[in-house]
Symmetry: C2
Subunit: 412 residues, 2 copies
Amino acid sequence: MTTNERERDFTHLFSETVQETMNNAGYGSWRSISDPAAVSLSFGFPFPESFPNDELVASAEAVFEAEGDVALQYTGGEYASGLSGVVADRARDRGIDCEDDEVILTNGSTHAIDVVSQTFLDPGDLVVTEAPTFMGALSLFRNYGVDIEGVEMDADGLDVDALAADLEARESEGRPLPKLLYTIPTFHNPTGVTLAEDRRKRLLELAAEYEFVVLEDDAYGELRYEGADVPSLAALDDTGLVVRVSTFSKTIAPGIRTGWIVADEELAEEMRRINAGGTNTFTQGVVGRYCEAGLLEENVVDLRESYSERCAHMLACLDEYMPAGADWSDPDGGFFVWVELPEGVDAEEMLPEAVEEGVVYLPGHLFYPDDRGHDCLRISFSHVPLDEMERGIEALAAATRTATSVESTADD
Amino acid sequence: MTTNERERDFTHLFSETVQETMNNAGYGSWRSISDPAAVSLSFGFPFPESFPNDELVASAEAVFEAEGDVALQYTGGEYASGLSGVVADRARDRGIDCEDDEVILTNGSTHAIDVVSQTFLDPGDLVVTEAPTFMGALSLFRNYGVDIEGVEMDADGLDVDALAADLEARESEGRPLPKLLYTIPTFHNPTGVTLAEDRRKRLLELAAEYEFVVLEDDAYGELRYEGADVPSLAALDDTGLVVRVSTFSKTIAPGIRTGWIVADEELAEEMRRINAGGTNTFTQGVVGRYCEAGLLEENVVDLRESYSERCAHMLACLDEYMPAGADWSDPDGGFFVWVELPEGVDAEEMLPEAVEEGVVYLPGHLFYPDDRGHDCLRISFSHVPLDEMERGIEALAAATRTATSVESTADD
């Protein structure tokens, strides 16, 4: 299968959306942003010491001892099938009205978003997201040939008034209304901000009025370090239009690749029907046993403590080192801080200097469905040790100062 | 999220293909065909004693010992990333010209088929399959809003002359030509037959001439019990149009849900780009370690011996018990035997009587993209113990005799 054996151009064989997105730089290009010599603040990787290796091996042993071979069959055993119940129980604990059969287990939360997309989206549909939003979701939505509109955010999350005005204008002008709104309302990726409760209620009113699906991505919701809990959209919903996806990637480990969808039974039924291929019942059994032994709750308590310290440290370093003119978000949870650079500084253009100084981040424009975000960047406190984090922020500050002085010189 | 709290009809929110397929009985209805009191010959489940529980736990321990926390990170450790190399090595051992970066690991082979579908298929495209074919693939293709045409098979597999005639007619009449042909050439599901080598070559010529992708599903290819190996389509291909998918579900265990795609590098690059969400690196590490320790090769040798005995036993039972007028396939490998019932007997109509007699099978029409196959059924020798299998075939024979006598009476 080497290409030198033939002279065939495959382009016309690809689907339309693949052809349209083939040269789209936003598509996964962020994966290659790294430098071995620099501190990586780029990715939302959990810190490795948080992974419960021994507990997972012990769970695997316990599952095989209790269930034998059935744990490796297509259907899995009772620990695997019980995992939906664990998810439903934990959803109910958070005030979400949810039956066990309204849970669909998936191979991680991106797979969950994919199943939801396949259930609702046709080419040409309109999807609304926060601007900025999770770049993986943007790539995924682009696979469906939809139009994506990003609505501005502020320190209280999505600007629901701007959304309302946009919806009203679309309706009065006969322009397409959204089929689906994708939001990360709690400890948002990439900004770290949380949608205020009154805005949540207003968003749900808009969903009911204009009849669009609200896809709530709650990957970080359990990792709160400051402030009082805000109910999830699914907990506030009485329309059935909220579909909530989440994952064990941040609370146990990404490598177990196990997530879920919680949706109204009518929606869940169709999602289950079209969901191609099964899930990893081996891992589900291991995770089910881990959760039923109470280990998840213990782990989440430990994680909150560790991440809280990491978050506070990053914010303190930013305070200490960053030059005037830069600003950043103040997250109450999650993994990320969003930095706005001094006026005129472009995060992507600054990246080579930052790598030179010893830090890597993700430029902000990657998180926008359109050409915004060039003066912003995302950094994560989830992964590197505290001392490296400090060196990284010092390097970021140094690069920012250099870029700012170049910019002011250019302005002269 | 209970429906009695609101009066909302969600139907219009679903994507067009979901709406179109909402009441399609072929869609997963087979999952509910079972009866606790009857011998189940329905599903292609591996027999549970074949699962290497202890070896997988030992592999998990060895992975954590060697790699520590990285085994649970998004990227996985060296055993997980080495699994692509294991797959590529094994493909090369089977004569497939394949680089390591032409392998894409997936969450099982149905996920692999889904990625391939998303890469190539637009609504309204034509997909050609064998008739009959794997019902899971049919459901999956329907999600893409494509037209599906099933080409007849005989004891040597897909009738490539019929395919050639159809392609020629389509071209001369200006009707749509296929974008993709899906085939299970070796130990076909559901018939058990294997595509003859000369037909394989002819199929590849047709693919080159009419430029369609050949999606080769090789889930059962390693499980040969009789006869000489036939090269896989990927091994015979020099066009780059063959995309091969396979899985560890039959050679290790379904619960580990790990499969792969092997494709020309240009195709692989786009598939990798659009493939939403990662894979289960925890499981991949465990499987990688299992394979690198040489355990897979040992397991496949054992499996061939066990399944060979099971296959021979099922064929012997069919010979012994089935009434005249029934016919069945004579597989050299895989999991399935395809039974043609005596003239006029409908497999779906016969099912209640068969359950009464103590056996469950899958009616043949489930495996067709159109209204064919009513006089056929699929049985699997992969799962039940030999004595149960014999009772199941006795029951099948009894139900067939009853249905045949009813049919002859009706004819009078």
